[in-house]
Symmetry: C2
Subunit: 232 residues, 2 copies
């Protein structure tokens, strides 16, 4: 694979303002999101550089940025590895944290949301409804994407940069939780209804109801996942 270098860009065109390290970052992120990199797998700097046909330097920078998302871990002199699969305890902790953060985001967003933001949210809910839901990852990828987008939109619409940062500190982890024991989509209809409830509360402009709906949603996500979890 060959990434477009800043050198072989047609002159005169508006500068992309994006350097090679940014492309590498996005590519690696896509790999992680797609599940192309399995948990625990080594992410070699030199190997990735060869794969993307760039030098190790931008790969090193991209990985350094990725480390803080929690999706890869680094050990000095040993390199980077994809973060291991979630344990049951990890999952419980993530839900505990989401319960602390996401209802607050919903409450804040509800009182400040713009018509445009509301429209984006409506679209995410709609995509959630129409996305195909099959047993394999490829078949519910769009569903997960819409789910993630819904929650991220609310964090952004909170208007609080720190709450957004806090959510993003969970962001990569929220994606990764789908790897928790290979749990797929269960009771999607119910989850969709919960998202609709959050959306409607936000649309009606009732912050406390929005927070309550979000808390209820996270609670039920946890309950469903625990019910489906494989035995240790």
């Amino acid at each position: 694979m060959k990434l477009a270098s800043s050198r072989d860009r047609a002159p005169g065109r508006p500068v992309s303002r994006q350097v090679l390290a940014d492309h590498v970052y996005e590519e690696l992120l896509a790999w992680l999101m797609d599940g192309r990199l399995e948990p625990g797998a080594a992410v070699s700097i030199d190997g990735t550089a060869r794969e993307l046909d760039v030098s190790p330097t931008p790969v090193r920078e991209a990985l350094a940025r990725l480390e803080h998302t929690g999706m890869v871990r680094r050990v000095a002199l040993k390199g980077y590895r994809v973060a291991p699969v979630f344990t049951r305890e990890d999952f419980a902790e993530l839900m505990e944290a989401r319960l602390a953060i996401e209802p607050v985001n919903a409450r804040l967003a509800c009182s400040r949301i713009t018509p445009g933001g509301l429209a984006d949210l409506r679209e995410a809910v709609k995509d959630l409804e129409t996305a195909p839901r099959g047993p394999s990852f490829a078949e519910f990828r769009d569903y997960l994407e819409a789910d993630e987008r819904f929650h991220k939109l609310i964090a952004e619409q909170s208007g609080n940069q720190f709450m957004l940062s806090a959510y993003n500190a969970l962001g990569g982890q929220v994606q990764r939780f789908r790897l928790f024991g290979g749990v797929g989509i269960t009771d999607a209809e119910q989850a969709i209804a919960e998202h609709q409830a959050v959306f409607e509360a936000m649309a009606s402009g009732d912050p406390e109801q929005a927070a309550a709906a979000m808390a209820d949603h996270v609670h039920k996500v946890r309950a469903r996942a625990i019910a489906d979890a494989p035995a240790d």
Copy 2:
């Protein structure tokens, strides 16, 4: 300034497991904490490399890691800059986020804290009491350090890696808020009493009281800062 390279390390000693980029990271972090780098100031990669007598490569990696803390910002092809001073709005947002996160940390930590953790907390409170408090930064540096340590300890003792990540997402910012209009320490006695209240609630093993004490503390920090804030 010359950092110890891994090359000129005495053989046979236990390996430090820390590479040059780690040293650069810590050095830059110290510069930022100390206020040696003013908000808005450029942090040149080559310049820092010369200053620390290393090559630009580890500096680049260290800065990439620092970026996500919010203490430095990067613009492609233009380099890194120390994040600008907090505005009144930034400060309000930070306090809002702290109110969402820190009481939860206190509640969780209270139900899981170990005797050792409690001892660490007691020490932080004690340091807070005895730290000198003068008008200049150097004179209340220890005070701020103990304050930060107290809150970080609670985040760590929460036993929830995600809540700790969320807190750390605010971490650098919590430090930076002291730059908010140059506000120093006001009513330190009162702040110390609030910390003591949090500690005592935790020591008594009442999670809800601990959460309430922490919420009360953050509320009052906000109130004091707003009262002291310079006019825009």
